[in-house]
């Protein structure tokens, strides 16, 4: 077993390289009002933000750890997590200005290349701070804002931040939301003015390099009426033995007659506790799409929530999770249909191997006024061996007689006949299994931008290597 882990360490070298933290500013482990004040002071924040942080800290300290309804989080000791680690650099808008070792990290992850080829803007966060932020000029001319929350707080958009920040995910939402608001740092602020279509995706990439640290970025996206935006979020971290924590928050406000797509490929290292909260509220006649691929982390709690307020709006959630050895991924999504003729379509896939655990939770709430609302949830699981686990826990709360809901779940294995068939055409056993798993994931990967689909296929290939014998 030890040998296999060794092999995987080598195979995952694309993500597992680490950089020295020398010269970085790293706050003491644990959490005190002094730490919160110094984070706020360093960012030269308005008073209301400091107050919000301190209130959140109090909430965090008063809330009990969630009862044991999901994966075990006892390995997460907050007194050993540094909540703020900053590389010694200023934010750049030109890759040349980014320090060499950090630039090298993002080069290896392919971020600058992706920006040149297919993106309208890129933000790159390293540990607690954004080190790079840039957007194509023509988007800026149209009034699109893509920056950090810190910068937005020092600009004409401060009232907008104040109006929306923490409104969709309140600090009291749960213990880790409170923690997030106490120590948040980095992330993105996106504002799309009325009538604007952002032609190419915006992408934020979050890299947690420091060991035993937390990343608490906040993403705030505001799309006015008649807008169109595709936002991509990528996450990765090298492997450490000390626990790391990711407790980010994503708040998205979508107006009327708009289209928003939020894509994520998450590949945290397997010592990561990923306790992320994502939420969107949507107006009338709009479409929201979530595309989500979760590959990494030791423990994940992740349930993006869509609140469909306006009539005739739709939400689609397409997700895939891959749980291997020592991974317990509790994911899913929550949909609240409030408007009439709203629809929700949820399709998820999970792959479990080497004792990995996947739990899929879905919650569909249909409000009293959601006449003729329709929701369908479908979950399929692929088990690669007998020691792994996959559970589906659907919940439905329907308060409107004219609504329709449907749920279906299937669990499958790779049959010996399939492996025999593919091997008899020349594939090795490993190639055959990888082919089947890629095929299973195909409905999700084909929804991703090309370079992310390629990354996802590579991730599957890496996960499948050494899976035999």
């Amino acid at each position: 077993m030890a040998e296999r882990t060794q092999v995987q360490d080598v195979d995952r070298s694309l993500y597992d390289f680490t950089k020295s933290e020398e010269g970085y500013e790293r706050y003491a482990d644990g959490l005190t009002p002094e730490i919160v004040r110094s984070i706020s002071a360093k960012k030269d924040e308005p008073e209301w933000m400091l107050q919000m942080r301190l209130d959140a800290l109090e909430t965090y300290q008063n809330l009990a750890m969630p009862a044991n309804w999901g994966p075990d989080t006892s390995g997460l000791d907050m007194s050993h997590i540094s909540t703020y680690v900053s590389p010694k650099t200023k934010q750049a808008s030109n890759w040349e200005e980014v320090p060499e070792d950090i630039k090298d990290t993002f080069e290896r992850l392919g971020i600058p290349q992706a920006e040149r080829e297919s993106l309208a803007g890129v933000g790159a966060q390293y540990d607690s701070e954004i080190v790079y932020h840039n957007m194509k000029e023509e988007m800026a001319k149209q009034g699109v804002v893509y920056t950090t929350i810190e910068d937005a707080l020092h600009s004409e958009y401060e009232p907008l931040v104040k109006q929306y920040f923490g409104k969709l995910i309140p600090p009291r939402d749960h213990k880790f939301a409170a923690l997030h608001y106490a120590v948040w740092s980095g992330g993105s602020f996106v504002y799309v003015p009325r009538g604007i279509t952002v032609d190419y995706p915006l992408q934020s990439y979050f890299r947690l390099n420091a060991q035993g640290a937390g990343q608490f970025e906040h993403t705030l996206i505001i799309c006015e009426d008649d807008t169109n935006l595709h936002f991509i979020e990528g996450c990765s971290a090298p492997k450490y033995y000390a626990a790391n924590l990711h407790a980010g928050a994503v708040e998205i406000f979508v107006g009327n007659r708009s289209h928003m797509r939020y894509s994520t490929i998450e590949n945290w290292s397997k010592n990561m506790f990923n306790l992320n909260t994502k939420r969107v509220t949507v107006g009338t006649d709009s479409q929201m799409e979530w595309i989500s691929g979760s590959f990494g982390s030791h423990v994940s709690y992740l349930y993006p929530t869509s609140i469909m307020k306006g009539d005739r709006s739709s939400v689609e959630f397409t997700g895939i999770t891959f749980a291997g050895q020592n991974q317990d991924l509790d994911t899913g999504c929550k949909v609240i249909l409030q408007g009439a003729d709203t629809t929700a379509s949820v399709e998820t896939k999970s792959i479990s191997k080497d004792g990995g655990i996947n739990t899929f939770r879905s919650s569909v709430v249909i409000g009293r006024k959601a006449e003729r609302a329709r929701a369908s949830v479908s979950c399929s699981s692929l088990m690669l061996d007998d020691i792994s686990r996959s559970d589906t826990i659907p919940a439905m709360d329907v308060r409107c007689g004219s609504a329709q809901v449907g749920h279906e779940a299937t669990i499958g294995r790779i049959s010996d006949d399939t492996i025999l068939y593919l091997m008899s055409r020349g594939c090795s056993e490993e190639e055959a299994r990888t082919m089947v798993v890629n095929g299973f994931a195909n409905p999700v990967s084909k929804e991703l931008p090309l370079e992310y689909a390629v990354e996802m296929n590579n991730l599957i290939k890496l996960e499948m290597e050494g899976a035999i014998g």
Binding site: S415, D416, D417, T418, L420, Y421, L422, M423, S424, R425, G426, C427, S428, E429, E431, A432, M435, V436, N438, G439, F440, A441, N442, P443
Partner: protein
Amino acid sequence: MSDTTHGALLSVRNISAGTEDKQILHHANLEVTSGETHVLMGPNGAGKSTLGHVIMGDPTYKITDGQIIFDGIDITEQAVNKRSLAGIFLSYQAPVEVPGVPLYSFLRTITQMRPELKMNARKFRQRVGEICDQLSMDQSFLTRELNVGFSGGEKKKIEMLQLLLLRPKLAILDETDSGLDVDALSVVSRGIEAYREDCDGALLMITHNTRILERLDVNHTHVMVKGRLVADGPASLIDDIDRNGFERFENAVATAAEDGE
């Protein structure tokens, strides 16, 4: 482990094999020379498909005795994919559906695994197009998922497509003709003929149906009963079986069994 004493492409020597709890094949011997067409017949449950699967290396069956030599190499212990790359092809009675894997990219993948078939993307596309025409296959099939949602006849055509693309030295067709309508049967026959002509491949046909054999130049007819190869005759044996069935072979095996083998 080269074996040069024989000119045979495939040599099954005294093979006994079965599942964990049941022996199916008893001391089977079979030789196929390059370019020959062999037919394997026998009543239901005789073990014909098992023999095909054992030659391919299906791990469902354990070999308890004997050897399989292919192209001068002892492959008795070889993995299925190694046998495939060495030039053995097995067409299945019920080809498996593999969701999410597009047929075209699958064909490209399995072709690229074979250095002798190296060709660029354009040449490959052209070659696949030619074979589709040969098999009267709509090219829109190529963008669909491997065998998913295809009818039985269409699946057999996809098997033929792979056969013609991969150009194996030996093709084992396990009841490829079963359950096909007249049109599909004629397409599959055309595929088999094309394989014989273009690739000069050897053929081992496992079948109940003598109709598909009418167009083929059969060199040997083998009869299997209760896991034993009991007869090796010329093409004319097919007509004999067509008229008289397998009864006399079954009786012979019964007598042999009574004599204590």
